[in-house]
């Protein structure tokens, strides 16, 4: 059984999704069933991580066909780390889903929601688990197609329009990746990532490989919402059902970052990406621009979901800056921030789901006086926000610390300064929410608004405590990230 864990990781949610249809009449049963499936993937990923940490990379040959002919699943530390993040966030978010979804969706749509959610989860886990370049494309489309449908479930009609725009941009991005993979196959005759990494250097100085690289990187950057390719993200996050936003904000961009790391660091190799091609400068520039422009835009938003969505674009900017450093420490910083950002954003968006549940809106002017009416929810938003800013004792501090260390190690003092300046911008948009919640006269009559139900509050506070816990005890996040980064640099020539 443990032998087949790498494939079970993907198969469990993939099989569970259609099985949901048998329980279609009973949304609550479907919820329990999908929660079970998601918890099972969490268990599997925890086992996988433990196995990888004790006995090294796991190689799984699908159907017993030897790679490079067959499809290979390869779980190294980076994969196991990502799998754990995705399945853990998915499970915690799903605990809160039932209450929120019951309120936000019509009853006949609720069962479909869980089915799509599981499909999307299966797609993301598949992207991370596989070591086959074409398999990546297939799983990418599984997760994306279900994402478009999930976003379109939003109540506001603007959700439809946001979903359509995401569909166009996402498909263009995925097709770009497909072109890149095709060109790589043409030059090397293989789709296996390990094989590609060995064969690409021989043909690296050809125009075909340059073009393949360009298509792949641009396609992935569309998916990860790197500035200026982020235009689909804010509306998609703002108008999707709250639970969907909490899930995607924490996982979808992370999977794309993983792909970027895989392609630039392991497959093409650092020297090709950063020395032969000017990717370093490009990433540094776009990352910093993303941090500043997205943070500035966030300050002027009136919809709190929009504020945090733009903040997500800014946080992706930090991760890209970490990559652009091009050292093991920089990559560690990116990987730590990946973990930490997943914790912050899932907590914040789940708290917004609680607000949505009680008030039915997340406009800033509806937040007036909520500090007293929903004290626990608002306290969660404040703590999560402080973590976003990077205050000591929260996870945000740990990731900013490593990022600044990595940048200074490279001698980029001005970049370190800009990173700190970017954090100040985060204080401004956080303050807008705090001001509305605590210092404005209430808009809702006293006694009409109650604290959010425990079914949402408990998951929110579990995530908030994780934000604090991993800010102090960094063993899991930092150590795994460190050894994953070092092993990537060990493999890369």
């Amino acid at each position: 059984m443990t032998l087949h864990l790498p494939i079970l990781q993907v198969i469990v949610p993939l099989i569970a999704a259609p099985l949901c249809m048998f329980l279609k009449q009973y949304p609550k049963a479907v919820w329990l069933f999908s929660l079970l499936a998601s918890a099972l993937t969490l268990l599997i990923s925890a086992l996988l991580l433990q196995q990888v940490l004790t006995s090294g990379t796991i190689i799984y040959e699908l159907g017993g066909w030897q790679p490079p002919w067959g499809i290979e699943y390869r779980i190294d530390q980076l994969n196991a780390y990502l799998l754990l993040i995705i399945s853990a966030i998915s499970t915690i978010v799903l605990v809160a889903a039932q209450t929120s979804i019951e309120k936000e969706l019509e009853s006949y749509r609720q069962s479909y929601f869980y089915m799509l959610y599981l499909l999307s989860l299966a797609g993301m886990l598949g992207i991370v688990a596989t070591a086959d370049a074409f398999n990546v494309f297939v799983f990418l489309e599984i997760s994306s197609l279900s994402a478009y449908a999930l976003i379109a479930l939003g109540k506001d009609r603007r959700a439809l329009w946001a979903s359509y725009q995401y569909l166009i941009m996402g498909t263009v991005g995925a097709t770009f990746i497909l072109i890149g993979i095709g060109l790589m196959y043409q030059m090397t005759g293989t789709l296996n990532m390990n094989d590609l990494a060995q064969r690409l250097p021989e043909v690296a100085e050809t125009r075909t490989v340059f073009v393949a690289f360009a298509f792949t990187v641009v396609g992935i950057c569309l998916k990860l919402a790197l500035f200026p390719l982020h235009l689909w993200l804010p509306n998609a996050y703002a108008y999707a059902p709250s639970i969907v936003t909490a899930f995607f904000a924490a996982t979808a961009t992370k999977v794309a970052i993983y792909l970027l790391i895989r392609f630039t660091f392991s497959i093409f190799g650092l020297s090709f990406s950063f020395t032969t091609l000017p990717l370093q400068t490009l990433f540094l520039l776009l990352g910093l621009l993303g941090v500043f422009i997205a943070s500035m835009t966030a300050i002027y938003q009136n919809n709190v979901k929009h504020i945090f969505a733009y903040s997500s674009v800014a946080q992706v900017g930090y991760m890209i800056v970490g990559l652009s450093v091009g050292s093991a420490l920089g990559l560690t910083a990116t990987l730590i921030h990946l973990f930490n950002h997943a914790l912050m954003k899932s907590a914040l968006f789940l708290a917004l789901a609680a607000v949505m549940y009680r008030i039915g809106s997340v406009q800033l002017n509806q937040f007036h006086g909520l500090g007293r009416q929903m004290p626990l929810t608002m306290a969660a938003i404040v703590v999560g926000g402080l973590s976003l800013v990077g205050v000591p004792l929260t996870v945000g501090f740990v990731s900013k610390w490593y990022l600044v260390l990595a940048v200074i190690e490279n001698g980029w003092w001005h970049v370190a300064l800009l990173i700190l300046l970017g954090s100040l911008l985060a204080i401004i948009y956080l303050w807008k929410i705090v001001e509305a919640a605590y210092f404005k006269p209430p808009v809702h009559e006293a006694g009409t608004i109650k604290e959010a139900p425990y079914s949402i509050l408990i998951p929110v506070w579990v995530l908030i405590f994780a934000n604090l816990y991993f800010g102090i005890d960094t063993r899991l996040s930092v150590e795994v990230a460190q050894s994953a980064a070092q092993s990537l640099f060990g493999v890369a020539p």
Partner: protein, 116 residues
């Protein structure tokens, strides 16, 4: 050079044509048409890659020894399925947008969004 690689020229022409339609047209159905053309160009590209000069269909036979590469064909079958799913989803979304906004023109939809 120009004529020998004509299949790639067709691929690039179709690709750019599709991409241009996606960007330039405001009608949601036309955008999807562009997207389909864009994707189809990639299918043709993969199939071109699979061609081996003088190779026959990849079926084991006594009198042939050179075969075309069947792997890209299989890959592209998968990609075609994905393309169909995308187009279907896009069309379904367009229907819902038409019900909600009463239009499938980007300009009109955005004007309505800005008003509300």
């Amino acid at each position: 050079m120009l004529i020998g690689l004509y299949n790639y020229w067709i691929v690039v022409a179709l690709m750019m044509l599709g991409f241009f339609i996606i960007i330039a047209h405001g009608n949601l159905i036309k955008k999807l048409v562009g997207l389909s053309i864009f994707q189809t160009s990639v299918f043709i590209f993969y199939i071109s890659v699979a061609k081996v000069e003088g190779g026959s269909a990849p079926i084991l036979a006594a009198d042939t020894s050179v075969y075309s590469n069947p792997l890209p064909h299989v890959l592209i079958l998968t990609a075609i399925v994905v393309g169909i799913a995308t187009t279907a989803l896009g069309l379904a979304l367009t229907m819902r947008i038409n019900e909600a906004y009463g239009s499938i023109e980007e300009e009109i939809i955005q004007k309505q969004d800005n008003q509300s």
